[in-house]
Symmetry: D3
Subunit: 287 residues, 6 copies
């Protein structure tokens, strides 16, 4: 009985956080290890289910790195990289699209629905929700069908949220003519959070957060302001794949999202821990 | 960090129960010790807050025994009892009404609102919600302004629930002419649960539940069917103040309420324990 | 038959006034003698019923002077006064609250419902509708639980009005922590009229209105502008209990209430006479 | 002041009737003298305005006898009659339609709007609201464009009522091909009351009601059941133009209209007198 | 089969125009020959039906020239003209009103309903939709009951459009006292288009449009800006009955109507041709 | 100009059909050649766009035969067939799912959106819309992840239709555990039509319809009743891939779908021809 009461106490402790996030939208970018480890995948979706039940509106954006590589291998398509971006021919794009929409997204939707979430899979092509163009600003050189977000139309997402569905979004954009573009999932999440005027953007990664010294976990930076973050990019403390994550946070913050987080997705229930406890984990970037 | 993750696990464990009760109405009768012990009072209202945040619609009905006695004393009004019912003159009724509506109800509403629930205090006189008559059927003799429920009009309660308020109801009824009646709060809760077609009726008491032998807690009866309950009243195993509680459950069950519970209100978070764990506590009466 | 036709003519004469007030909100402060004389009480509520039926939305605020004094006597609590304000300890406040909410309000609700109004009793504690603080601005010295209005949240009142209920409000406020405050009912009525952007505020009193010479009824002032009213307070022509009434009118007028009235509540149907005839009675204060 | 208070008392006396008819639909057939005497016309419309303001939904159906005759004369068209029905060629029908829709209806609408009712003129041709066929059942012989009601579609009327308009209906029907038919206005009113499931049907006439002896006003029949009314038609006590009035009442009663009345339209405010006083006037026919 | 496919191709060609006008309001003035030739009348209404089915909201305003003259003749009323305006006594006005509302409007409504449009006939007197005054500004001298539009209240029209009815409006206005005014139908159409903020105003005439040389059809002016149109009135290239048409267009354009057209109503399906093909016909006036 | 008027006439001819299908749902199965020939694909989607604009609600279900085979080849996966069904291992199912959802569906959605339809891609896994089980009833032997429909939940489709989106559905089902099943697209279309209580089900094929003699196009059967269709299956006149098409029609007809069609999808605009002309094409099966 004592154990039962302790359980009840823990539910009660979460109350103030439920109150704070009630009826707010939270955009969650879900990628890296969390997507290949089946148990972590289930753990993340359980967190999403709980958010839904306590009145939060979660929107999930996923990446697809390893699955894409795996598919390209099966098709024996070799691709070159330029500064971390995959040079993407139309043939490659078709495989990427199949992997993201027909495999990663569809598997996530299956798992989510079997956990009792009313999940619906979407891509930026549905209702031309994510209008994209060839990546130039972010990518410096033309890379084929690597895209950057031109505009997110939140109508379809909002009608899903209003009908109590959880949208799970594949990071594929489209132009008006119907060409597909592969877009960095972090940036898609940032733009969606901005378009939905979400309360929070959470990017799950394979690290503890932003580290001053990438070799030393004890150098985790807990909080950053936009200006500080920009400085650290300039100072090359923030490098590589962390740059689009930080940029996604800045995009979101500049359009009325309140808080953005870079979290360790390898940790069980990192979403719940961030939302329902005082001990924020990972790095929080704010205005 | 380990402790944090255990907390997250406990939230996750509650998920299937949140799912089950999402958007359902639960009527809670709140009386006895839970009303005099300030800590228990807060604990019950915390539970109610949590129910509200996870999408359950709670309706609270309270009693008022000790506060009524205390008020009558201050007025130096002595009252006689007949078979457990207080013989209630108009003068006594006025004090009872002041105690229930102007003290017990108003204090509960205050506490609930300070905990962040949008609570609104009501009595059966508002919109003539609880039509009552002199108690005859239940009471055998005429006892003055002791009433029994004639009909509950759920309109006002439903409009409160739809607007996301938590109604807190004092067990005072009225007749068409405007006379007030003091009604047993358990019976009021049963009738309200019936009128609202609630999912669950929970009666908080000062005992563990229904005991075969009132002296021996190990004889707690976990489950009873309606017929068995009626038999135990006839056999005088269920006696005294437990009779209206059991009758309230039967009233509710006969009008589409699914489950009814007689719970130990002296236990911290008994409401959450009953709803969010497998180990039902107290006595459950079902069809 | 001729008499019948005269009756019909009188109904017809009221038409232009029905047109003017259709679907408008009117806040009525109800106090003094009108509350102790049973016949006057019924007469006021009949007026309210008629307003409701011809499409006006009445909101009633009541005081409670004599009932409060009576209750304090029964509890043998003696209280001191400072410049007309009762010094209110927590113990006194509890009796005041019981008297206002558990006796005056509840009796008015009963009477109103038996006349066919769908009345619901409220206090400022419901949904923390009237946030209050210790009276300092208006009272000069700290007087215990005598409060002044900090803010009125009209949400609950508006949802009542939209559902066709007539709210009857006891002048008890609350702070965020749940402490209760006794507030001058005239001021509460003024603040509620302001928050609801009511069409009209009507304060029923025990006098003919504002008199130049309180001893001479023929010196009734029919109309006053805000500036004139303020001047007459400075000149001590308006004194005593009339000051908060005039201040309530000014509060309401400064927030888009169109007309405010101080009426003789001892007169049968003074509300109807003011609204449905050309002969305004009492004193009207306008911008 | 005493006179004022008597006025207020009369308003108060009407309260129970307001309560009874609140939000109910009342269909009023308006014809005969009430339509030629300007003062009576205004008096009827004032009654309608008052009904509207106290929450009743009036629907007006008018006849047009004298205006039609007057128009036919101006066109120098002579017409024959068969058992009280005018034999109606297409040419005659065109004049009838112009008189009913372009003169009687339009004048009533003007007058009503200038009194502050939101009146909208309609005929059975709008949205093919009144489908009609050549009168055979009621008329025995074919009479050209004299019609009888086939079906009333209440959609347009209901959308008018929901938007708070007062529909004023000319008794012109149409077939699917668009031919117009002149229909007895009493029968149209009866069918509309039936289709709207109105609370009351009121037919204004040029007599006191149904008289046992048409020469003797003291023989007014106050109440009739359907069966009695049918018997009196058979016995030829009810004859001539009174027959379609009685049939209209029967049609309405057989489809859930509660009460039907044949009233003296020459009396000022006969509608108000019938609705707002105990002394029913004229003849009431009930189930 | 080939023919069938060509038909399908033509439907497909209309698609971009359907898209453009979907859910937009189009006001159509319908007069002159189109009103006397039965086949043209049907052709216009078929066009309107099609507009309705592809999601456009048509509102029709009609004139009545020849029918009015015909009626005045039958009444043997002679009338004088001043600068193209008929001097209109009250007696004349009554005949005009009967002709417009009781004959032209009612016939259009019949025809439209038999084609499957849900048509409802209205005049400016319904709900005092078109407030008018004696024509002075436009007419220079007082001409009796010739009116000009003071204000159009779009409420009734909007509620009709929302309920999917097609309003057909007779150009009769009213003042607050209920007097009727005959108003130029082109001007009424322009004011209604302005009040509804319509997408398009289309005036059907008996000419090809505005001609530089009225004798030479090849001088048709396809497009005009407001300023050019005003200049051509000053230069007396635009004269006579074309002046109010051009003024109606200007009125509409100055209140957010996008495009206005003066079309040849003698041409079959001129409305569809204008809306669903690239080859605009007639004269278009734009900002 | 003459040509223009002929175009207008053709639009007008389509009117009665627009009327008939206004606001009705039509389910279109789209497969075979129509899916590999880019021009036909565009032609079908143009038809869908037009349906949408004239107020019909289209729902598209697609197959994927050739694309699936093509993908399996690229993966070098060989599959056996049993009575026309592909034996489907989990590995094969994954490729099938990618091909259907990540290639066929996504390409259709792109094309549709670039034509101006608000298209959203769905599969039976979204919100577990199509619950499936291993095919036994229809398939006789266990074939791995070949499924049959257990139940279609129309909620998601209906909310899409209500928000004016055109759903494009891939024929992939799911069980409660989240396993995917490849289901015959004709049967999926039939079940969806049944669940939506659609007006019409149209199956586009590579033949003229059902032929008595498959070698002789002149033996096309224009109409069949359910009973006749069943007989022809028994008589082996209807064989092979035509059997599930006919069964899909029967499923739909037995649940309130009015008409079902097997059409020649190789023909340009076959959908429009079937809906908007009298000359039905292909085979219609009715109750």
């Amino acid at each position: 009985m004592k154990e039962l009461i302790e359980k009840a106490d823990i539910l009660i402790e979460a109350l103030p956080y439920m109150r704070e996030f009630s009826n707010k939208t939270v955009v969650i970018k879900y990628g890296g290890n969390a997507m290949v480890n089946k148990d972590l995948m289930a753990s993340v979706l359980e967190d999403v289910t709980l958010l839904k039940y306590v009145g939060v509106n979660p929107v999930i954006v996923h990446g697809g790195g390893p699955v894409i590589s795996n598919n390209l291998e099966q098709y024996e398509l070799e691709t070159d990289f330029h500064k971390g971006f995959r040079i993407t021919s139309q043939e490659v794009m078709q495989v990427v699209e199949k992997a993201l929409i027909g495999e990663v997204n569809t598997n996530l939707v299956s798992l989510a629905n079997s956990l009792g979430i009313k999940a619906v899979g979407l891509s930026g092509k549905d209702n031309q929700m994510i209008l994209a163009q060839k990546c130039e600003m972010d990518c410096e050189v033309e890379l084929g069908y690597v895209g950057e977000v031109d505009e997110v139309d939140p109508t379809l997402l909002n009608s899903m949220i209003d009908s109590n569905y959880v949208p799970i979004v594949a990071p594929v954009g489209t132009d008006k003519e119907g060409n597909s573009y592969n877009i960095n999932a972090d940036l898609v999440a940032g733009e969606i959070a901005a378009a939905l005027e979400a309360e929070k953007l959470m990017l799950l990664t394979n690290t503890e957060g932003i580290l001053e010294d990438p070799e030393d976990k004890s150098t985790l930076i807990s909080r950053l302001k936009i200006a500080e973050a920009k400085q650290k990019i300039e100072d090359e403390i923030i490098v590589g794949g962390m740059i689009p994550k930080v940029n996604a946070c800045i995009t979101a913050l500049e359009k009325d999202v309140n808080r953005t987080h870079i979290l360790d997705g390898r940790l069980d229930h990192s979403i719940l821990l961030e939302i329902f406890t005082d001990k924020g984990i990972g790095t929080m970037i704010t205005k």
